[in-house]
Subunit: 354 residues, 4 copies
């Protein structure tokens, strides 16, 4: 890459697109050419994104005005819309990073099963690489099309991969109990996100059948002799940004596993991953991962705890659903695709207290 | 019982004792004689409990001034202190309801295992009945000494009992992922409950080894052919009052279980339990149990969801940790012990929005 | 009144109507005949009001089905709709309690000024009494039509009345800085109540021009030699239920006013008001009014503090916007109109912690 | 300055010191030599500051080990302790930036009045410059000793200065109603910050007599012909970081002031201030300042609204109490003192949603 990477965002008035805009505007090697929103076309982006006041005078344009001859186009569009746009830009020169679910599942039949509809563009699926750098950094660096993973899928997959790769746990009895903040529901108000009914609760909004289940199983399958089955339940908790995934895994041979061995397994597995921090201190309030210390950052913090009583490992992972779970991970992929250091533009620390 | 039940509370400046005071002061068949607190002795209870302003002029007394010849003494004292007090009052005429953990586990060896110390009064254990009315209403009605269950234990046991009694699930692979509000930590400030570090987080504060595990297993053991093992993880979430327990259970024969059968199992099991509501509506934000609609009440709401993909049942239960998880359940036991209708003094509805 | 008061609620799917339903269903002298909602007609009220599960099997009906020959009809309808309904029921025998703003201002010109439209039913205005019992208990007891005050108006008027009546403050320099929870915005989701944008903020949503200003000035005018001007600013804070009003008043003769005199002024003024608690303790976290200890109750807590440096009195008042600020106050009026003790059905204590 | 500015922080385990550490570690022109904490000496700073994991391996040292020959020493110590330390380092070469209140008030008598004690080091007062760059950029650039302003004082002073300088308002009737998040209470847990009692409330914790009053009046006095009197009330709201100040000011000649004139007054006054954003949009949820869009940043957003009814201007200002209200402002002063661009190290955007 000579000069700055010229990038455009389609769908920049929602939370994911807005977060991407924040990251790209502060990215030292990227120039944001345009940002689209049908609803807000013509308006300054700062009307939707008050945090960017003073940082940019960009105005939203309609998607139709996004030029094809840029270096990278980010699709922050709803599921289904991305597939249409991907088809439109598929012949063009631009790299494409899709943050929707349209190209995450490689098998159209799996897509049909979990999304309840025929895949809208199955012929494009083979061009997309699943954008989880910690599991396939090499493929991403070579890719021209990226399907950025789901937020819960990222937290769960990173939590489980080392254990499955090490063959330590029963792949048929994996429970993932996820807790997510309200920004995960997107920018459109609904009864479920109406403050009086969302505040002070914890709600099992998707006890079974969550679509990220399929992504997690697909991402983990290559690591395990037996294809894993994931029992995922998603909860809404009182928090704006953040996910905490608690993975409950049953050890195959619990008598012969030590806490030290578990820690070593994780540290080795992620030794080259700049955004995974292994967190398990001896004491203190923040001794295990939680959303605060990763908020606004691209980190995924992971810690695991041995439970000899139940023959179980509890793996706790935390990330910011809009950063490592969406926009930040997309930037991380962009960095890899462009030969930039993986952490470029993603180094700001979280706040404490958060 | 002729006339009102004369009751005293030892340890009424904490959250559990304060909540009990609120319930008893409004109970139509109870007269509160005294409430103790060493720290606050001589001060009006409304200094600690501003919600009771206008309702009472009671002042705290030292525990030493609590008379033995009342109808019922409630112990809302820390673990260990209750055992001492129980010994002191054991020869007296008063019924004793202990809200600490001291007399919940029947086997001193189990106590030693989970509490890391020798039981302080093993000779008294046989006199105590575990005060979970939904599982042993009859024994409580006959009892003179009650050990009120833990808050998470209540939520988990009520969620799991019907499935184990019906022999539907694998008793060795039970995951309980509990989420609890900050009042569960008690009234004393610590780093973990300091608002800036407790707000907006979800924290796995006890990923394994939670002491309520032993209670749950003890309460469920009689219902299951094989002794159950519970894999419990407790999380702190941003909320003041409330518990949501998500129990992940693997079906023994998942091909032959239907959602309707599960619902019938629960409705039958709790057909005589006025404080268990089976909640699983077809749609709506509040279609499953959550803490809001039980806040301030003695209800435990329970719903269950079939997950054919993972061969799993997800059971969700919600209660108010200070009411059904502590003070309300103690009053429910008192009602049963005194021959009063079980719901006396416990009928106020929750608020919505909460 | 012989037998129970037969009541119906028009507009019972919103927060105000829902709260009224909660109070009336538990009211010992009221029978709820029907509750209307166009949107939810035919559905159980518990779908919208999960807190009432187990308490009622009532279903919503269309407003057209609400019979006119009941003892009392409550209008919990939007501003404008109430005026139409009041006209419809004006010839009927039922008492009418309107919780909208339609009949609060006696002068149609004032209404036009603050609401930006001609009053929809000026001929009915004279039949309505402003339902603030602490200021006009007698008129309410004689009334057949009540206009229940606004929530902020109630908190501000009760805070200011004693000072104006005593002639202690400058009536032209009264600042009321109100803070209100999200339930005050009603049950319909908007961008302003969308959890990610409503959580963790404090927002001056109506810095000037708030319509309750007119109500407050109208209610206070009779108490003051000079007509008062109120400078009201309304803020949204992170909280579901509750209002805290901070009134900043400049003393006319600050050198000659003592804190004891201020307290006596308030205690005297409200000596016959069962729902006003004067709260100003020497120390402690909850030494002044705040929303927690009044949540779910019909109390308005008031305390005042002398500021010699600025020649100011700070009056702090707290209430639950859905109870004393709406549904509870309506029930209080009903009690007075029906000759019942003023506190009937309104005696439940708040929770602590809230 | 040649090379990086070598800085040390005394008192880096609290929130202010921790925030300063975050900013300095990411500052391109600063090298952090050491950070002290008596309590945590020997421990990694990341134990207290989990947000800095992966960013630093620094360990706390006792204050006694902080060398005097650095370029700048920041004192994040409690009031009183700073004065002792300032004396210790007063002969040294290091610039001193004190974040406590010890050197903010120029007159020891004023200090005695508001702090209730004799000033501990009156002979040092003349060496300190009040570190509010927007009001005295020049003096700070020449200074060797800085007293960083209080958080509420910063928000209030910046809100009021343009109006007083323009002579538009009555300087004797200024009401400042401040709302602040829990981090403003510091890192030590108390009853007032205990989550169950701090959550979901809004509390007038300092209705009158707040010590920042004196700072505000001192800072504003030079701008006004008549010395201003500020009537300040401080509230705790449910939020971790952030202040919203609502200043209610009465216009001297309200008939002749327009909204456009007010806006121009502010824009002119702060035309050279990179961290003051004038925010008053025509519509939208975030049309006025609020804490979200400034969280984690050094901005102070200000907007003002004309209230013709009451002859009032409402000025709303928002900042992050730990950044512009403490650590960020200290860094801004350091930049000015060292001849660096004022915004160096302070350019990261806030998150949205926050």
């Amino acid at each position: 890459v000579v000069g700055k990477v010229r990038a455009s965002i389609i769908g920049a008035s929602g939370y994911t697109g807005g977060e991407l805009l924040r990251l790209l505007l502060q990215h030292p090697a990227v120039e944001v050419l345009s940002a689209s929103s049908e609803r807000c076309a013509g308006r300054p982006v700062t009307e939707r994104l008050p945090n960017l006041r003073g940082l940019t005078h960009l105005r939203y344009v309609p998607a139709a005005e996004i030029a094809a001859d840029v270096d990278c186009i980010f699709l922050c569009t709803p599921h289904g819309v991305s597939a249409e746009l991907a088809a439109r830009y598929s012949a063009g020169p631009a790299r494409l990073i899709d943050l929707s679910a349209d190209f995450r599942l490689r098998d159209p039949a799996t897509y049909a099963l979990w999304y309840g509809r025929t895949h809208p563009a199955p012929e494009l699926l083979e061009h997309f690489v699943y954008g989880l750098p910690e599991l396939q950094r090499g493929a991403i660096a070579q890719a021209h099309r990226i399907a950025a993973p789901g937020c819960i899928a990222t937290a769960a997959t990173l939590a489980l991969a080392p254990l499955l790769a090490a063959g330590l746990i029963d792949p048929q009895r994996i429970v993932v109990d996820a807790k997510i903040g309200s920004s995960g529901s997107g920018a459109l108000p609904t009864q479920a996100t109406h403050h009086p009914q969302r505040s002070g609760t914890v709600r099992a909004y998707k006890p079974a059948g969550h679509r990220h289940t399929a992504e997690i199983e697909q991402a983990l399958a290559p690591l395990s002799a037996t294809a894993p089955t994931v029992a995922l339940t998603a909860h809404a908790v009182e928090m704006v940004r953040g996910i905490l995934c608690t993975a409950h895994c049953f050890l195959l041979d619990s008598a012969n596993v030590t806490a030290a061995q578990l820690e070593a397994t994780y540290r080795d597995y992620y030794s080259a991953a700049p955004f995974v921090r292994y967190v398990h201190e001896a004491h203190g309030v923040h001794r295990l991962p939680e959303p605060g210390p990763v908020r606004g950052t691209n980190y995924c913090d992971i810690g695991c705890i041995l439970d000899p009583h139940a023959g179980r490992v509890v793996v706790v992972s935390a990330l910011d659903n809009l950063v490592k779970g969406a926009a930040g991970q997309a930037v991380q992929c962009l960095n890899l695709m462009c030969g930039l250091p993986e952490t470029t533009g993603l180094t700001a620390a979280a706040l404490h207290p958060a």
